[in-house]
């Protein structure tokens, strides 16, 4: 499969269809992957594709605005490209999506947390367990999975953990989140790794007005994590990158999933599903629920 990918990449670069291909290469440890930027035909051989290719490369597209980019994208990554297209952050003709059929990637976080060996940690990421499709919704070229493993989804209720938290008492929930957020070190990796976080100036970096404390204290941390989640309302496509990179292990997906669940219930909206659809918060319906308003 990888040979096919390399041939395609070489062809794209040769025909000047793209200026740059963003893909994966082997990291220094010889096992994991890391992002790879190929702009010359001779570098194409660096490209790899396997279960270690966890990163959502759509995040790099904002670095190359205006250029023609070929990007290797899993089905979940493609959803974030869809949102970027919906929000006019990207021109469709500028991005050549090399879609890959994906049957799940490893749980990199668990590996980092000290799973004994690679084999043990090669369980799939939590996001993969509720994956809905192993084939990208849009792409210019599709690499089929020859082994036809299909999606690894366990067809479980994807909001199970959200529901579990919802039924706990208000005080318990506050305690839970305060404990989690108190560890936040405000490294902003969750923001930097998110393809949807493209504000030229993040509210967290603003000094005038300063919306919340810059220091890693509980109040500032609560505000930051809450506002990050709110800003992703209707835009988060659950690529799970924020939770994966969080060095202190805050379960950020529980926040994202909660909003995802709410907007499904309230507005029947699903992020990253359709390029033609208007973004959730830039549109409205006359019959949106308003019974909670006095």
């Amino acid at each position: 499969m990888i040979d096919e990918l390399k041939i395609k990449a070489r062809e794209l670069l040769k025909n000047k269809q793209v200026d740059l291909i963003i893909g994966y290469q082997r990291a220094s440890d010889g096992v994991l992957a890391m992002p790879c930027f190929v702009d010359r035909e001779e570098d194409v051989d660096k490209l790899i594709w396997d279960v270690y290719c966890v990163y959502n490369l759509a995040n790099y597209l904002k670095d190359y605005a205006g250029q023609k980019i070929g990007i290797i994208a899993k089905p979940c990554d493609v959803r974030s490209i869809v949102v970027l297209l919906q929000e006019n952050q990207l021109r469709r003709e500028n991005v050549y999506i090399i879609g890959v059929e994906c049957s799940g990637v490893i749980d990199e976080k668990r590996l980092r947390l000290g799973a004994k060996d690679i084999q043990e940690s090669a369980t799939f990421g939590v996001k993969c367990k509720s994956c809905k499709s192993s084939t990208p919704s849009i792409c210019d070229y599709l690499f089929k999975d020859k082994e036809k493993k299909g999606k690894i989804s366990e067809d479980k209720d994807e909001y199970e953990s959200v529901r579990k938290l919802e039924v706990r008492s208000s005080l318990e929930r506050l305690k839970f989140w305060e404990e989690e957020f108190s560890r936040c070190i405000r490294c902003y990796a969750c923001r930097q790794v998110c393809p949807m976080c493209y504000c030229p100036k993040c509210v967290a970096d603003q000094a005038m007005p300063a919306w919340f404390s810059k220091g890693a204290n509980l109040k500032g941390n609560l505000s930051w994590n809450l506002i990050r989640a709110i800003h992703l309302g209707g835009r988060c496509i659950d690529c799970g990158e924020c939770e994966r990179v969080c060095p202190v292990g805050i379960p950020l997906r529980e926040l994202n999933k909660k909003i995802e669940k709410d907007i499904k219930e309230l507005f029947k909206y699903e992020a990253g599903a359709n390029v033609e659809q208007k973004p959730l918060l830039a549109s409205f319906d006359k019959d949106d629920p308003g019974d909670w308003i006095k």
Partner: protein, 330 residues
Amino acid sequence: MIQKIVTKEELYKLLNYLLQDFEVIGPKELTNRGIFYETIKNPQDLYLGEGFTTEPVKKLFLNPSEWFFKCQYKDSKNSLEEIALTKTKRIIIGVRPCETKGLELLDKVYNSEYKDEFYVNNRNRTVIIGLSCAKPDRNCFCTSMGGSNVESQGTDAILFDRDGKFILEIITDKGKEILGSIGNEPSEEEKKHWQQDKEKRKDLVKTKIKAPEDLDKVFEDPYWEQVSKSCLSCGICTFLCPTCHCFDLVDEQRRRLRCYDGCAFVDFTLQASGENPRPTKKERYRQRVFHKFDYFKKNFGENLCVGCGRCIRYCPVKIDISEIVDKAPV
């Protein structure tokens, strides 16, 4: 130096006793979250295994959110109120040698010519009991940075776990004061065995790198752009580094705050005029490498890196500083 053999029970008993007078801080494992330094109420909660804490012990000396003073406006008068220094005596147990080596490097900045009162206070009120590394992982390269995974390197005492017991080496008087009473003297044979073990453990650090003598020659090399391409500009590598010490001063709600700053951030050196001398990832990543392996060396004669591997282990995109420094085109 005093060497002793201590059982786990003896150690816990002592810690229980010390809890009356000291705040005891040590690594604690949180399921699916990692290992963190936390105040220990019960010594059984301590994690003294092979894993590494996510955050380095630096956090307990350079508070990530330090309030300097607060201002008040009362009865048409302005007043400044200094924030009192915490005086509680504390014991930090389970600290890896590389982390305390980091503290020794921070001492050069915060506790030599210039004395930072918060940092110095934290140093003075703390006794550090180290824990030797029995299982360095592939990201560790402490031995290449002039350090060691088994020597004390600035701890007051250091523990080595061996056959379900601990070998305790007491280095300083501070350490002797609190730990002097426990354990038994090892026999000569045991001491010899232990010395051999130590050598073996040192060899477990497999990653070897060579930091270039003079990086300055390659300041303008396109290499830096190449290696920083995938950098996300997040603060993980700097915040989790045992030696990174850049900070930011912010005035918030009539209070002055010192918090961490990191050279990876887009607004690291952004000036009020809008000018930024380090506008792209390339300059910012180069700054990180140069501060560690060039500027600091020129100022203080040592690399500002202890090889703990945290920035590699936790990098969201697996940028490997050891490899980058090793392969720098000098």
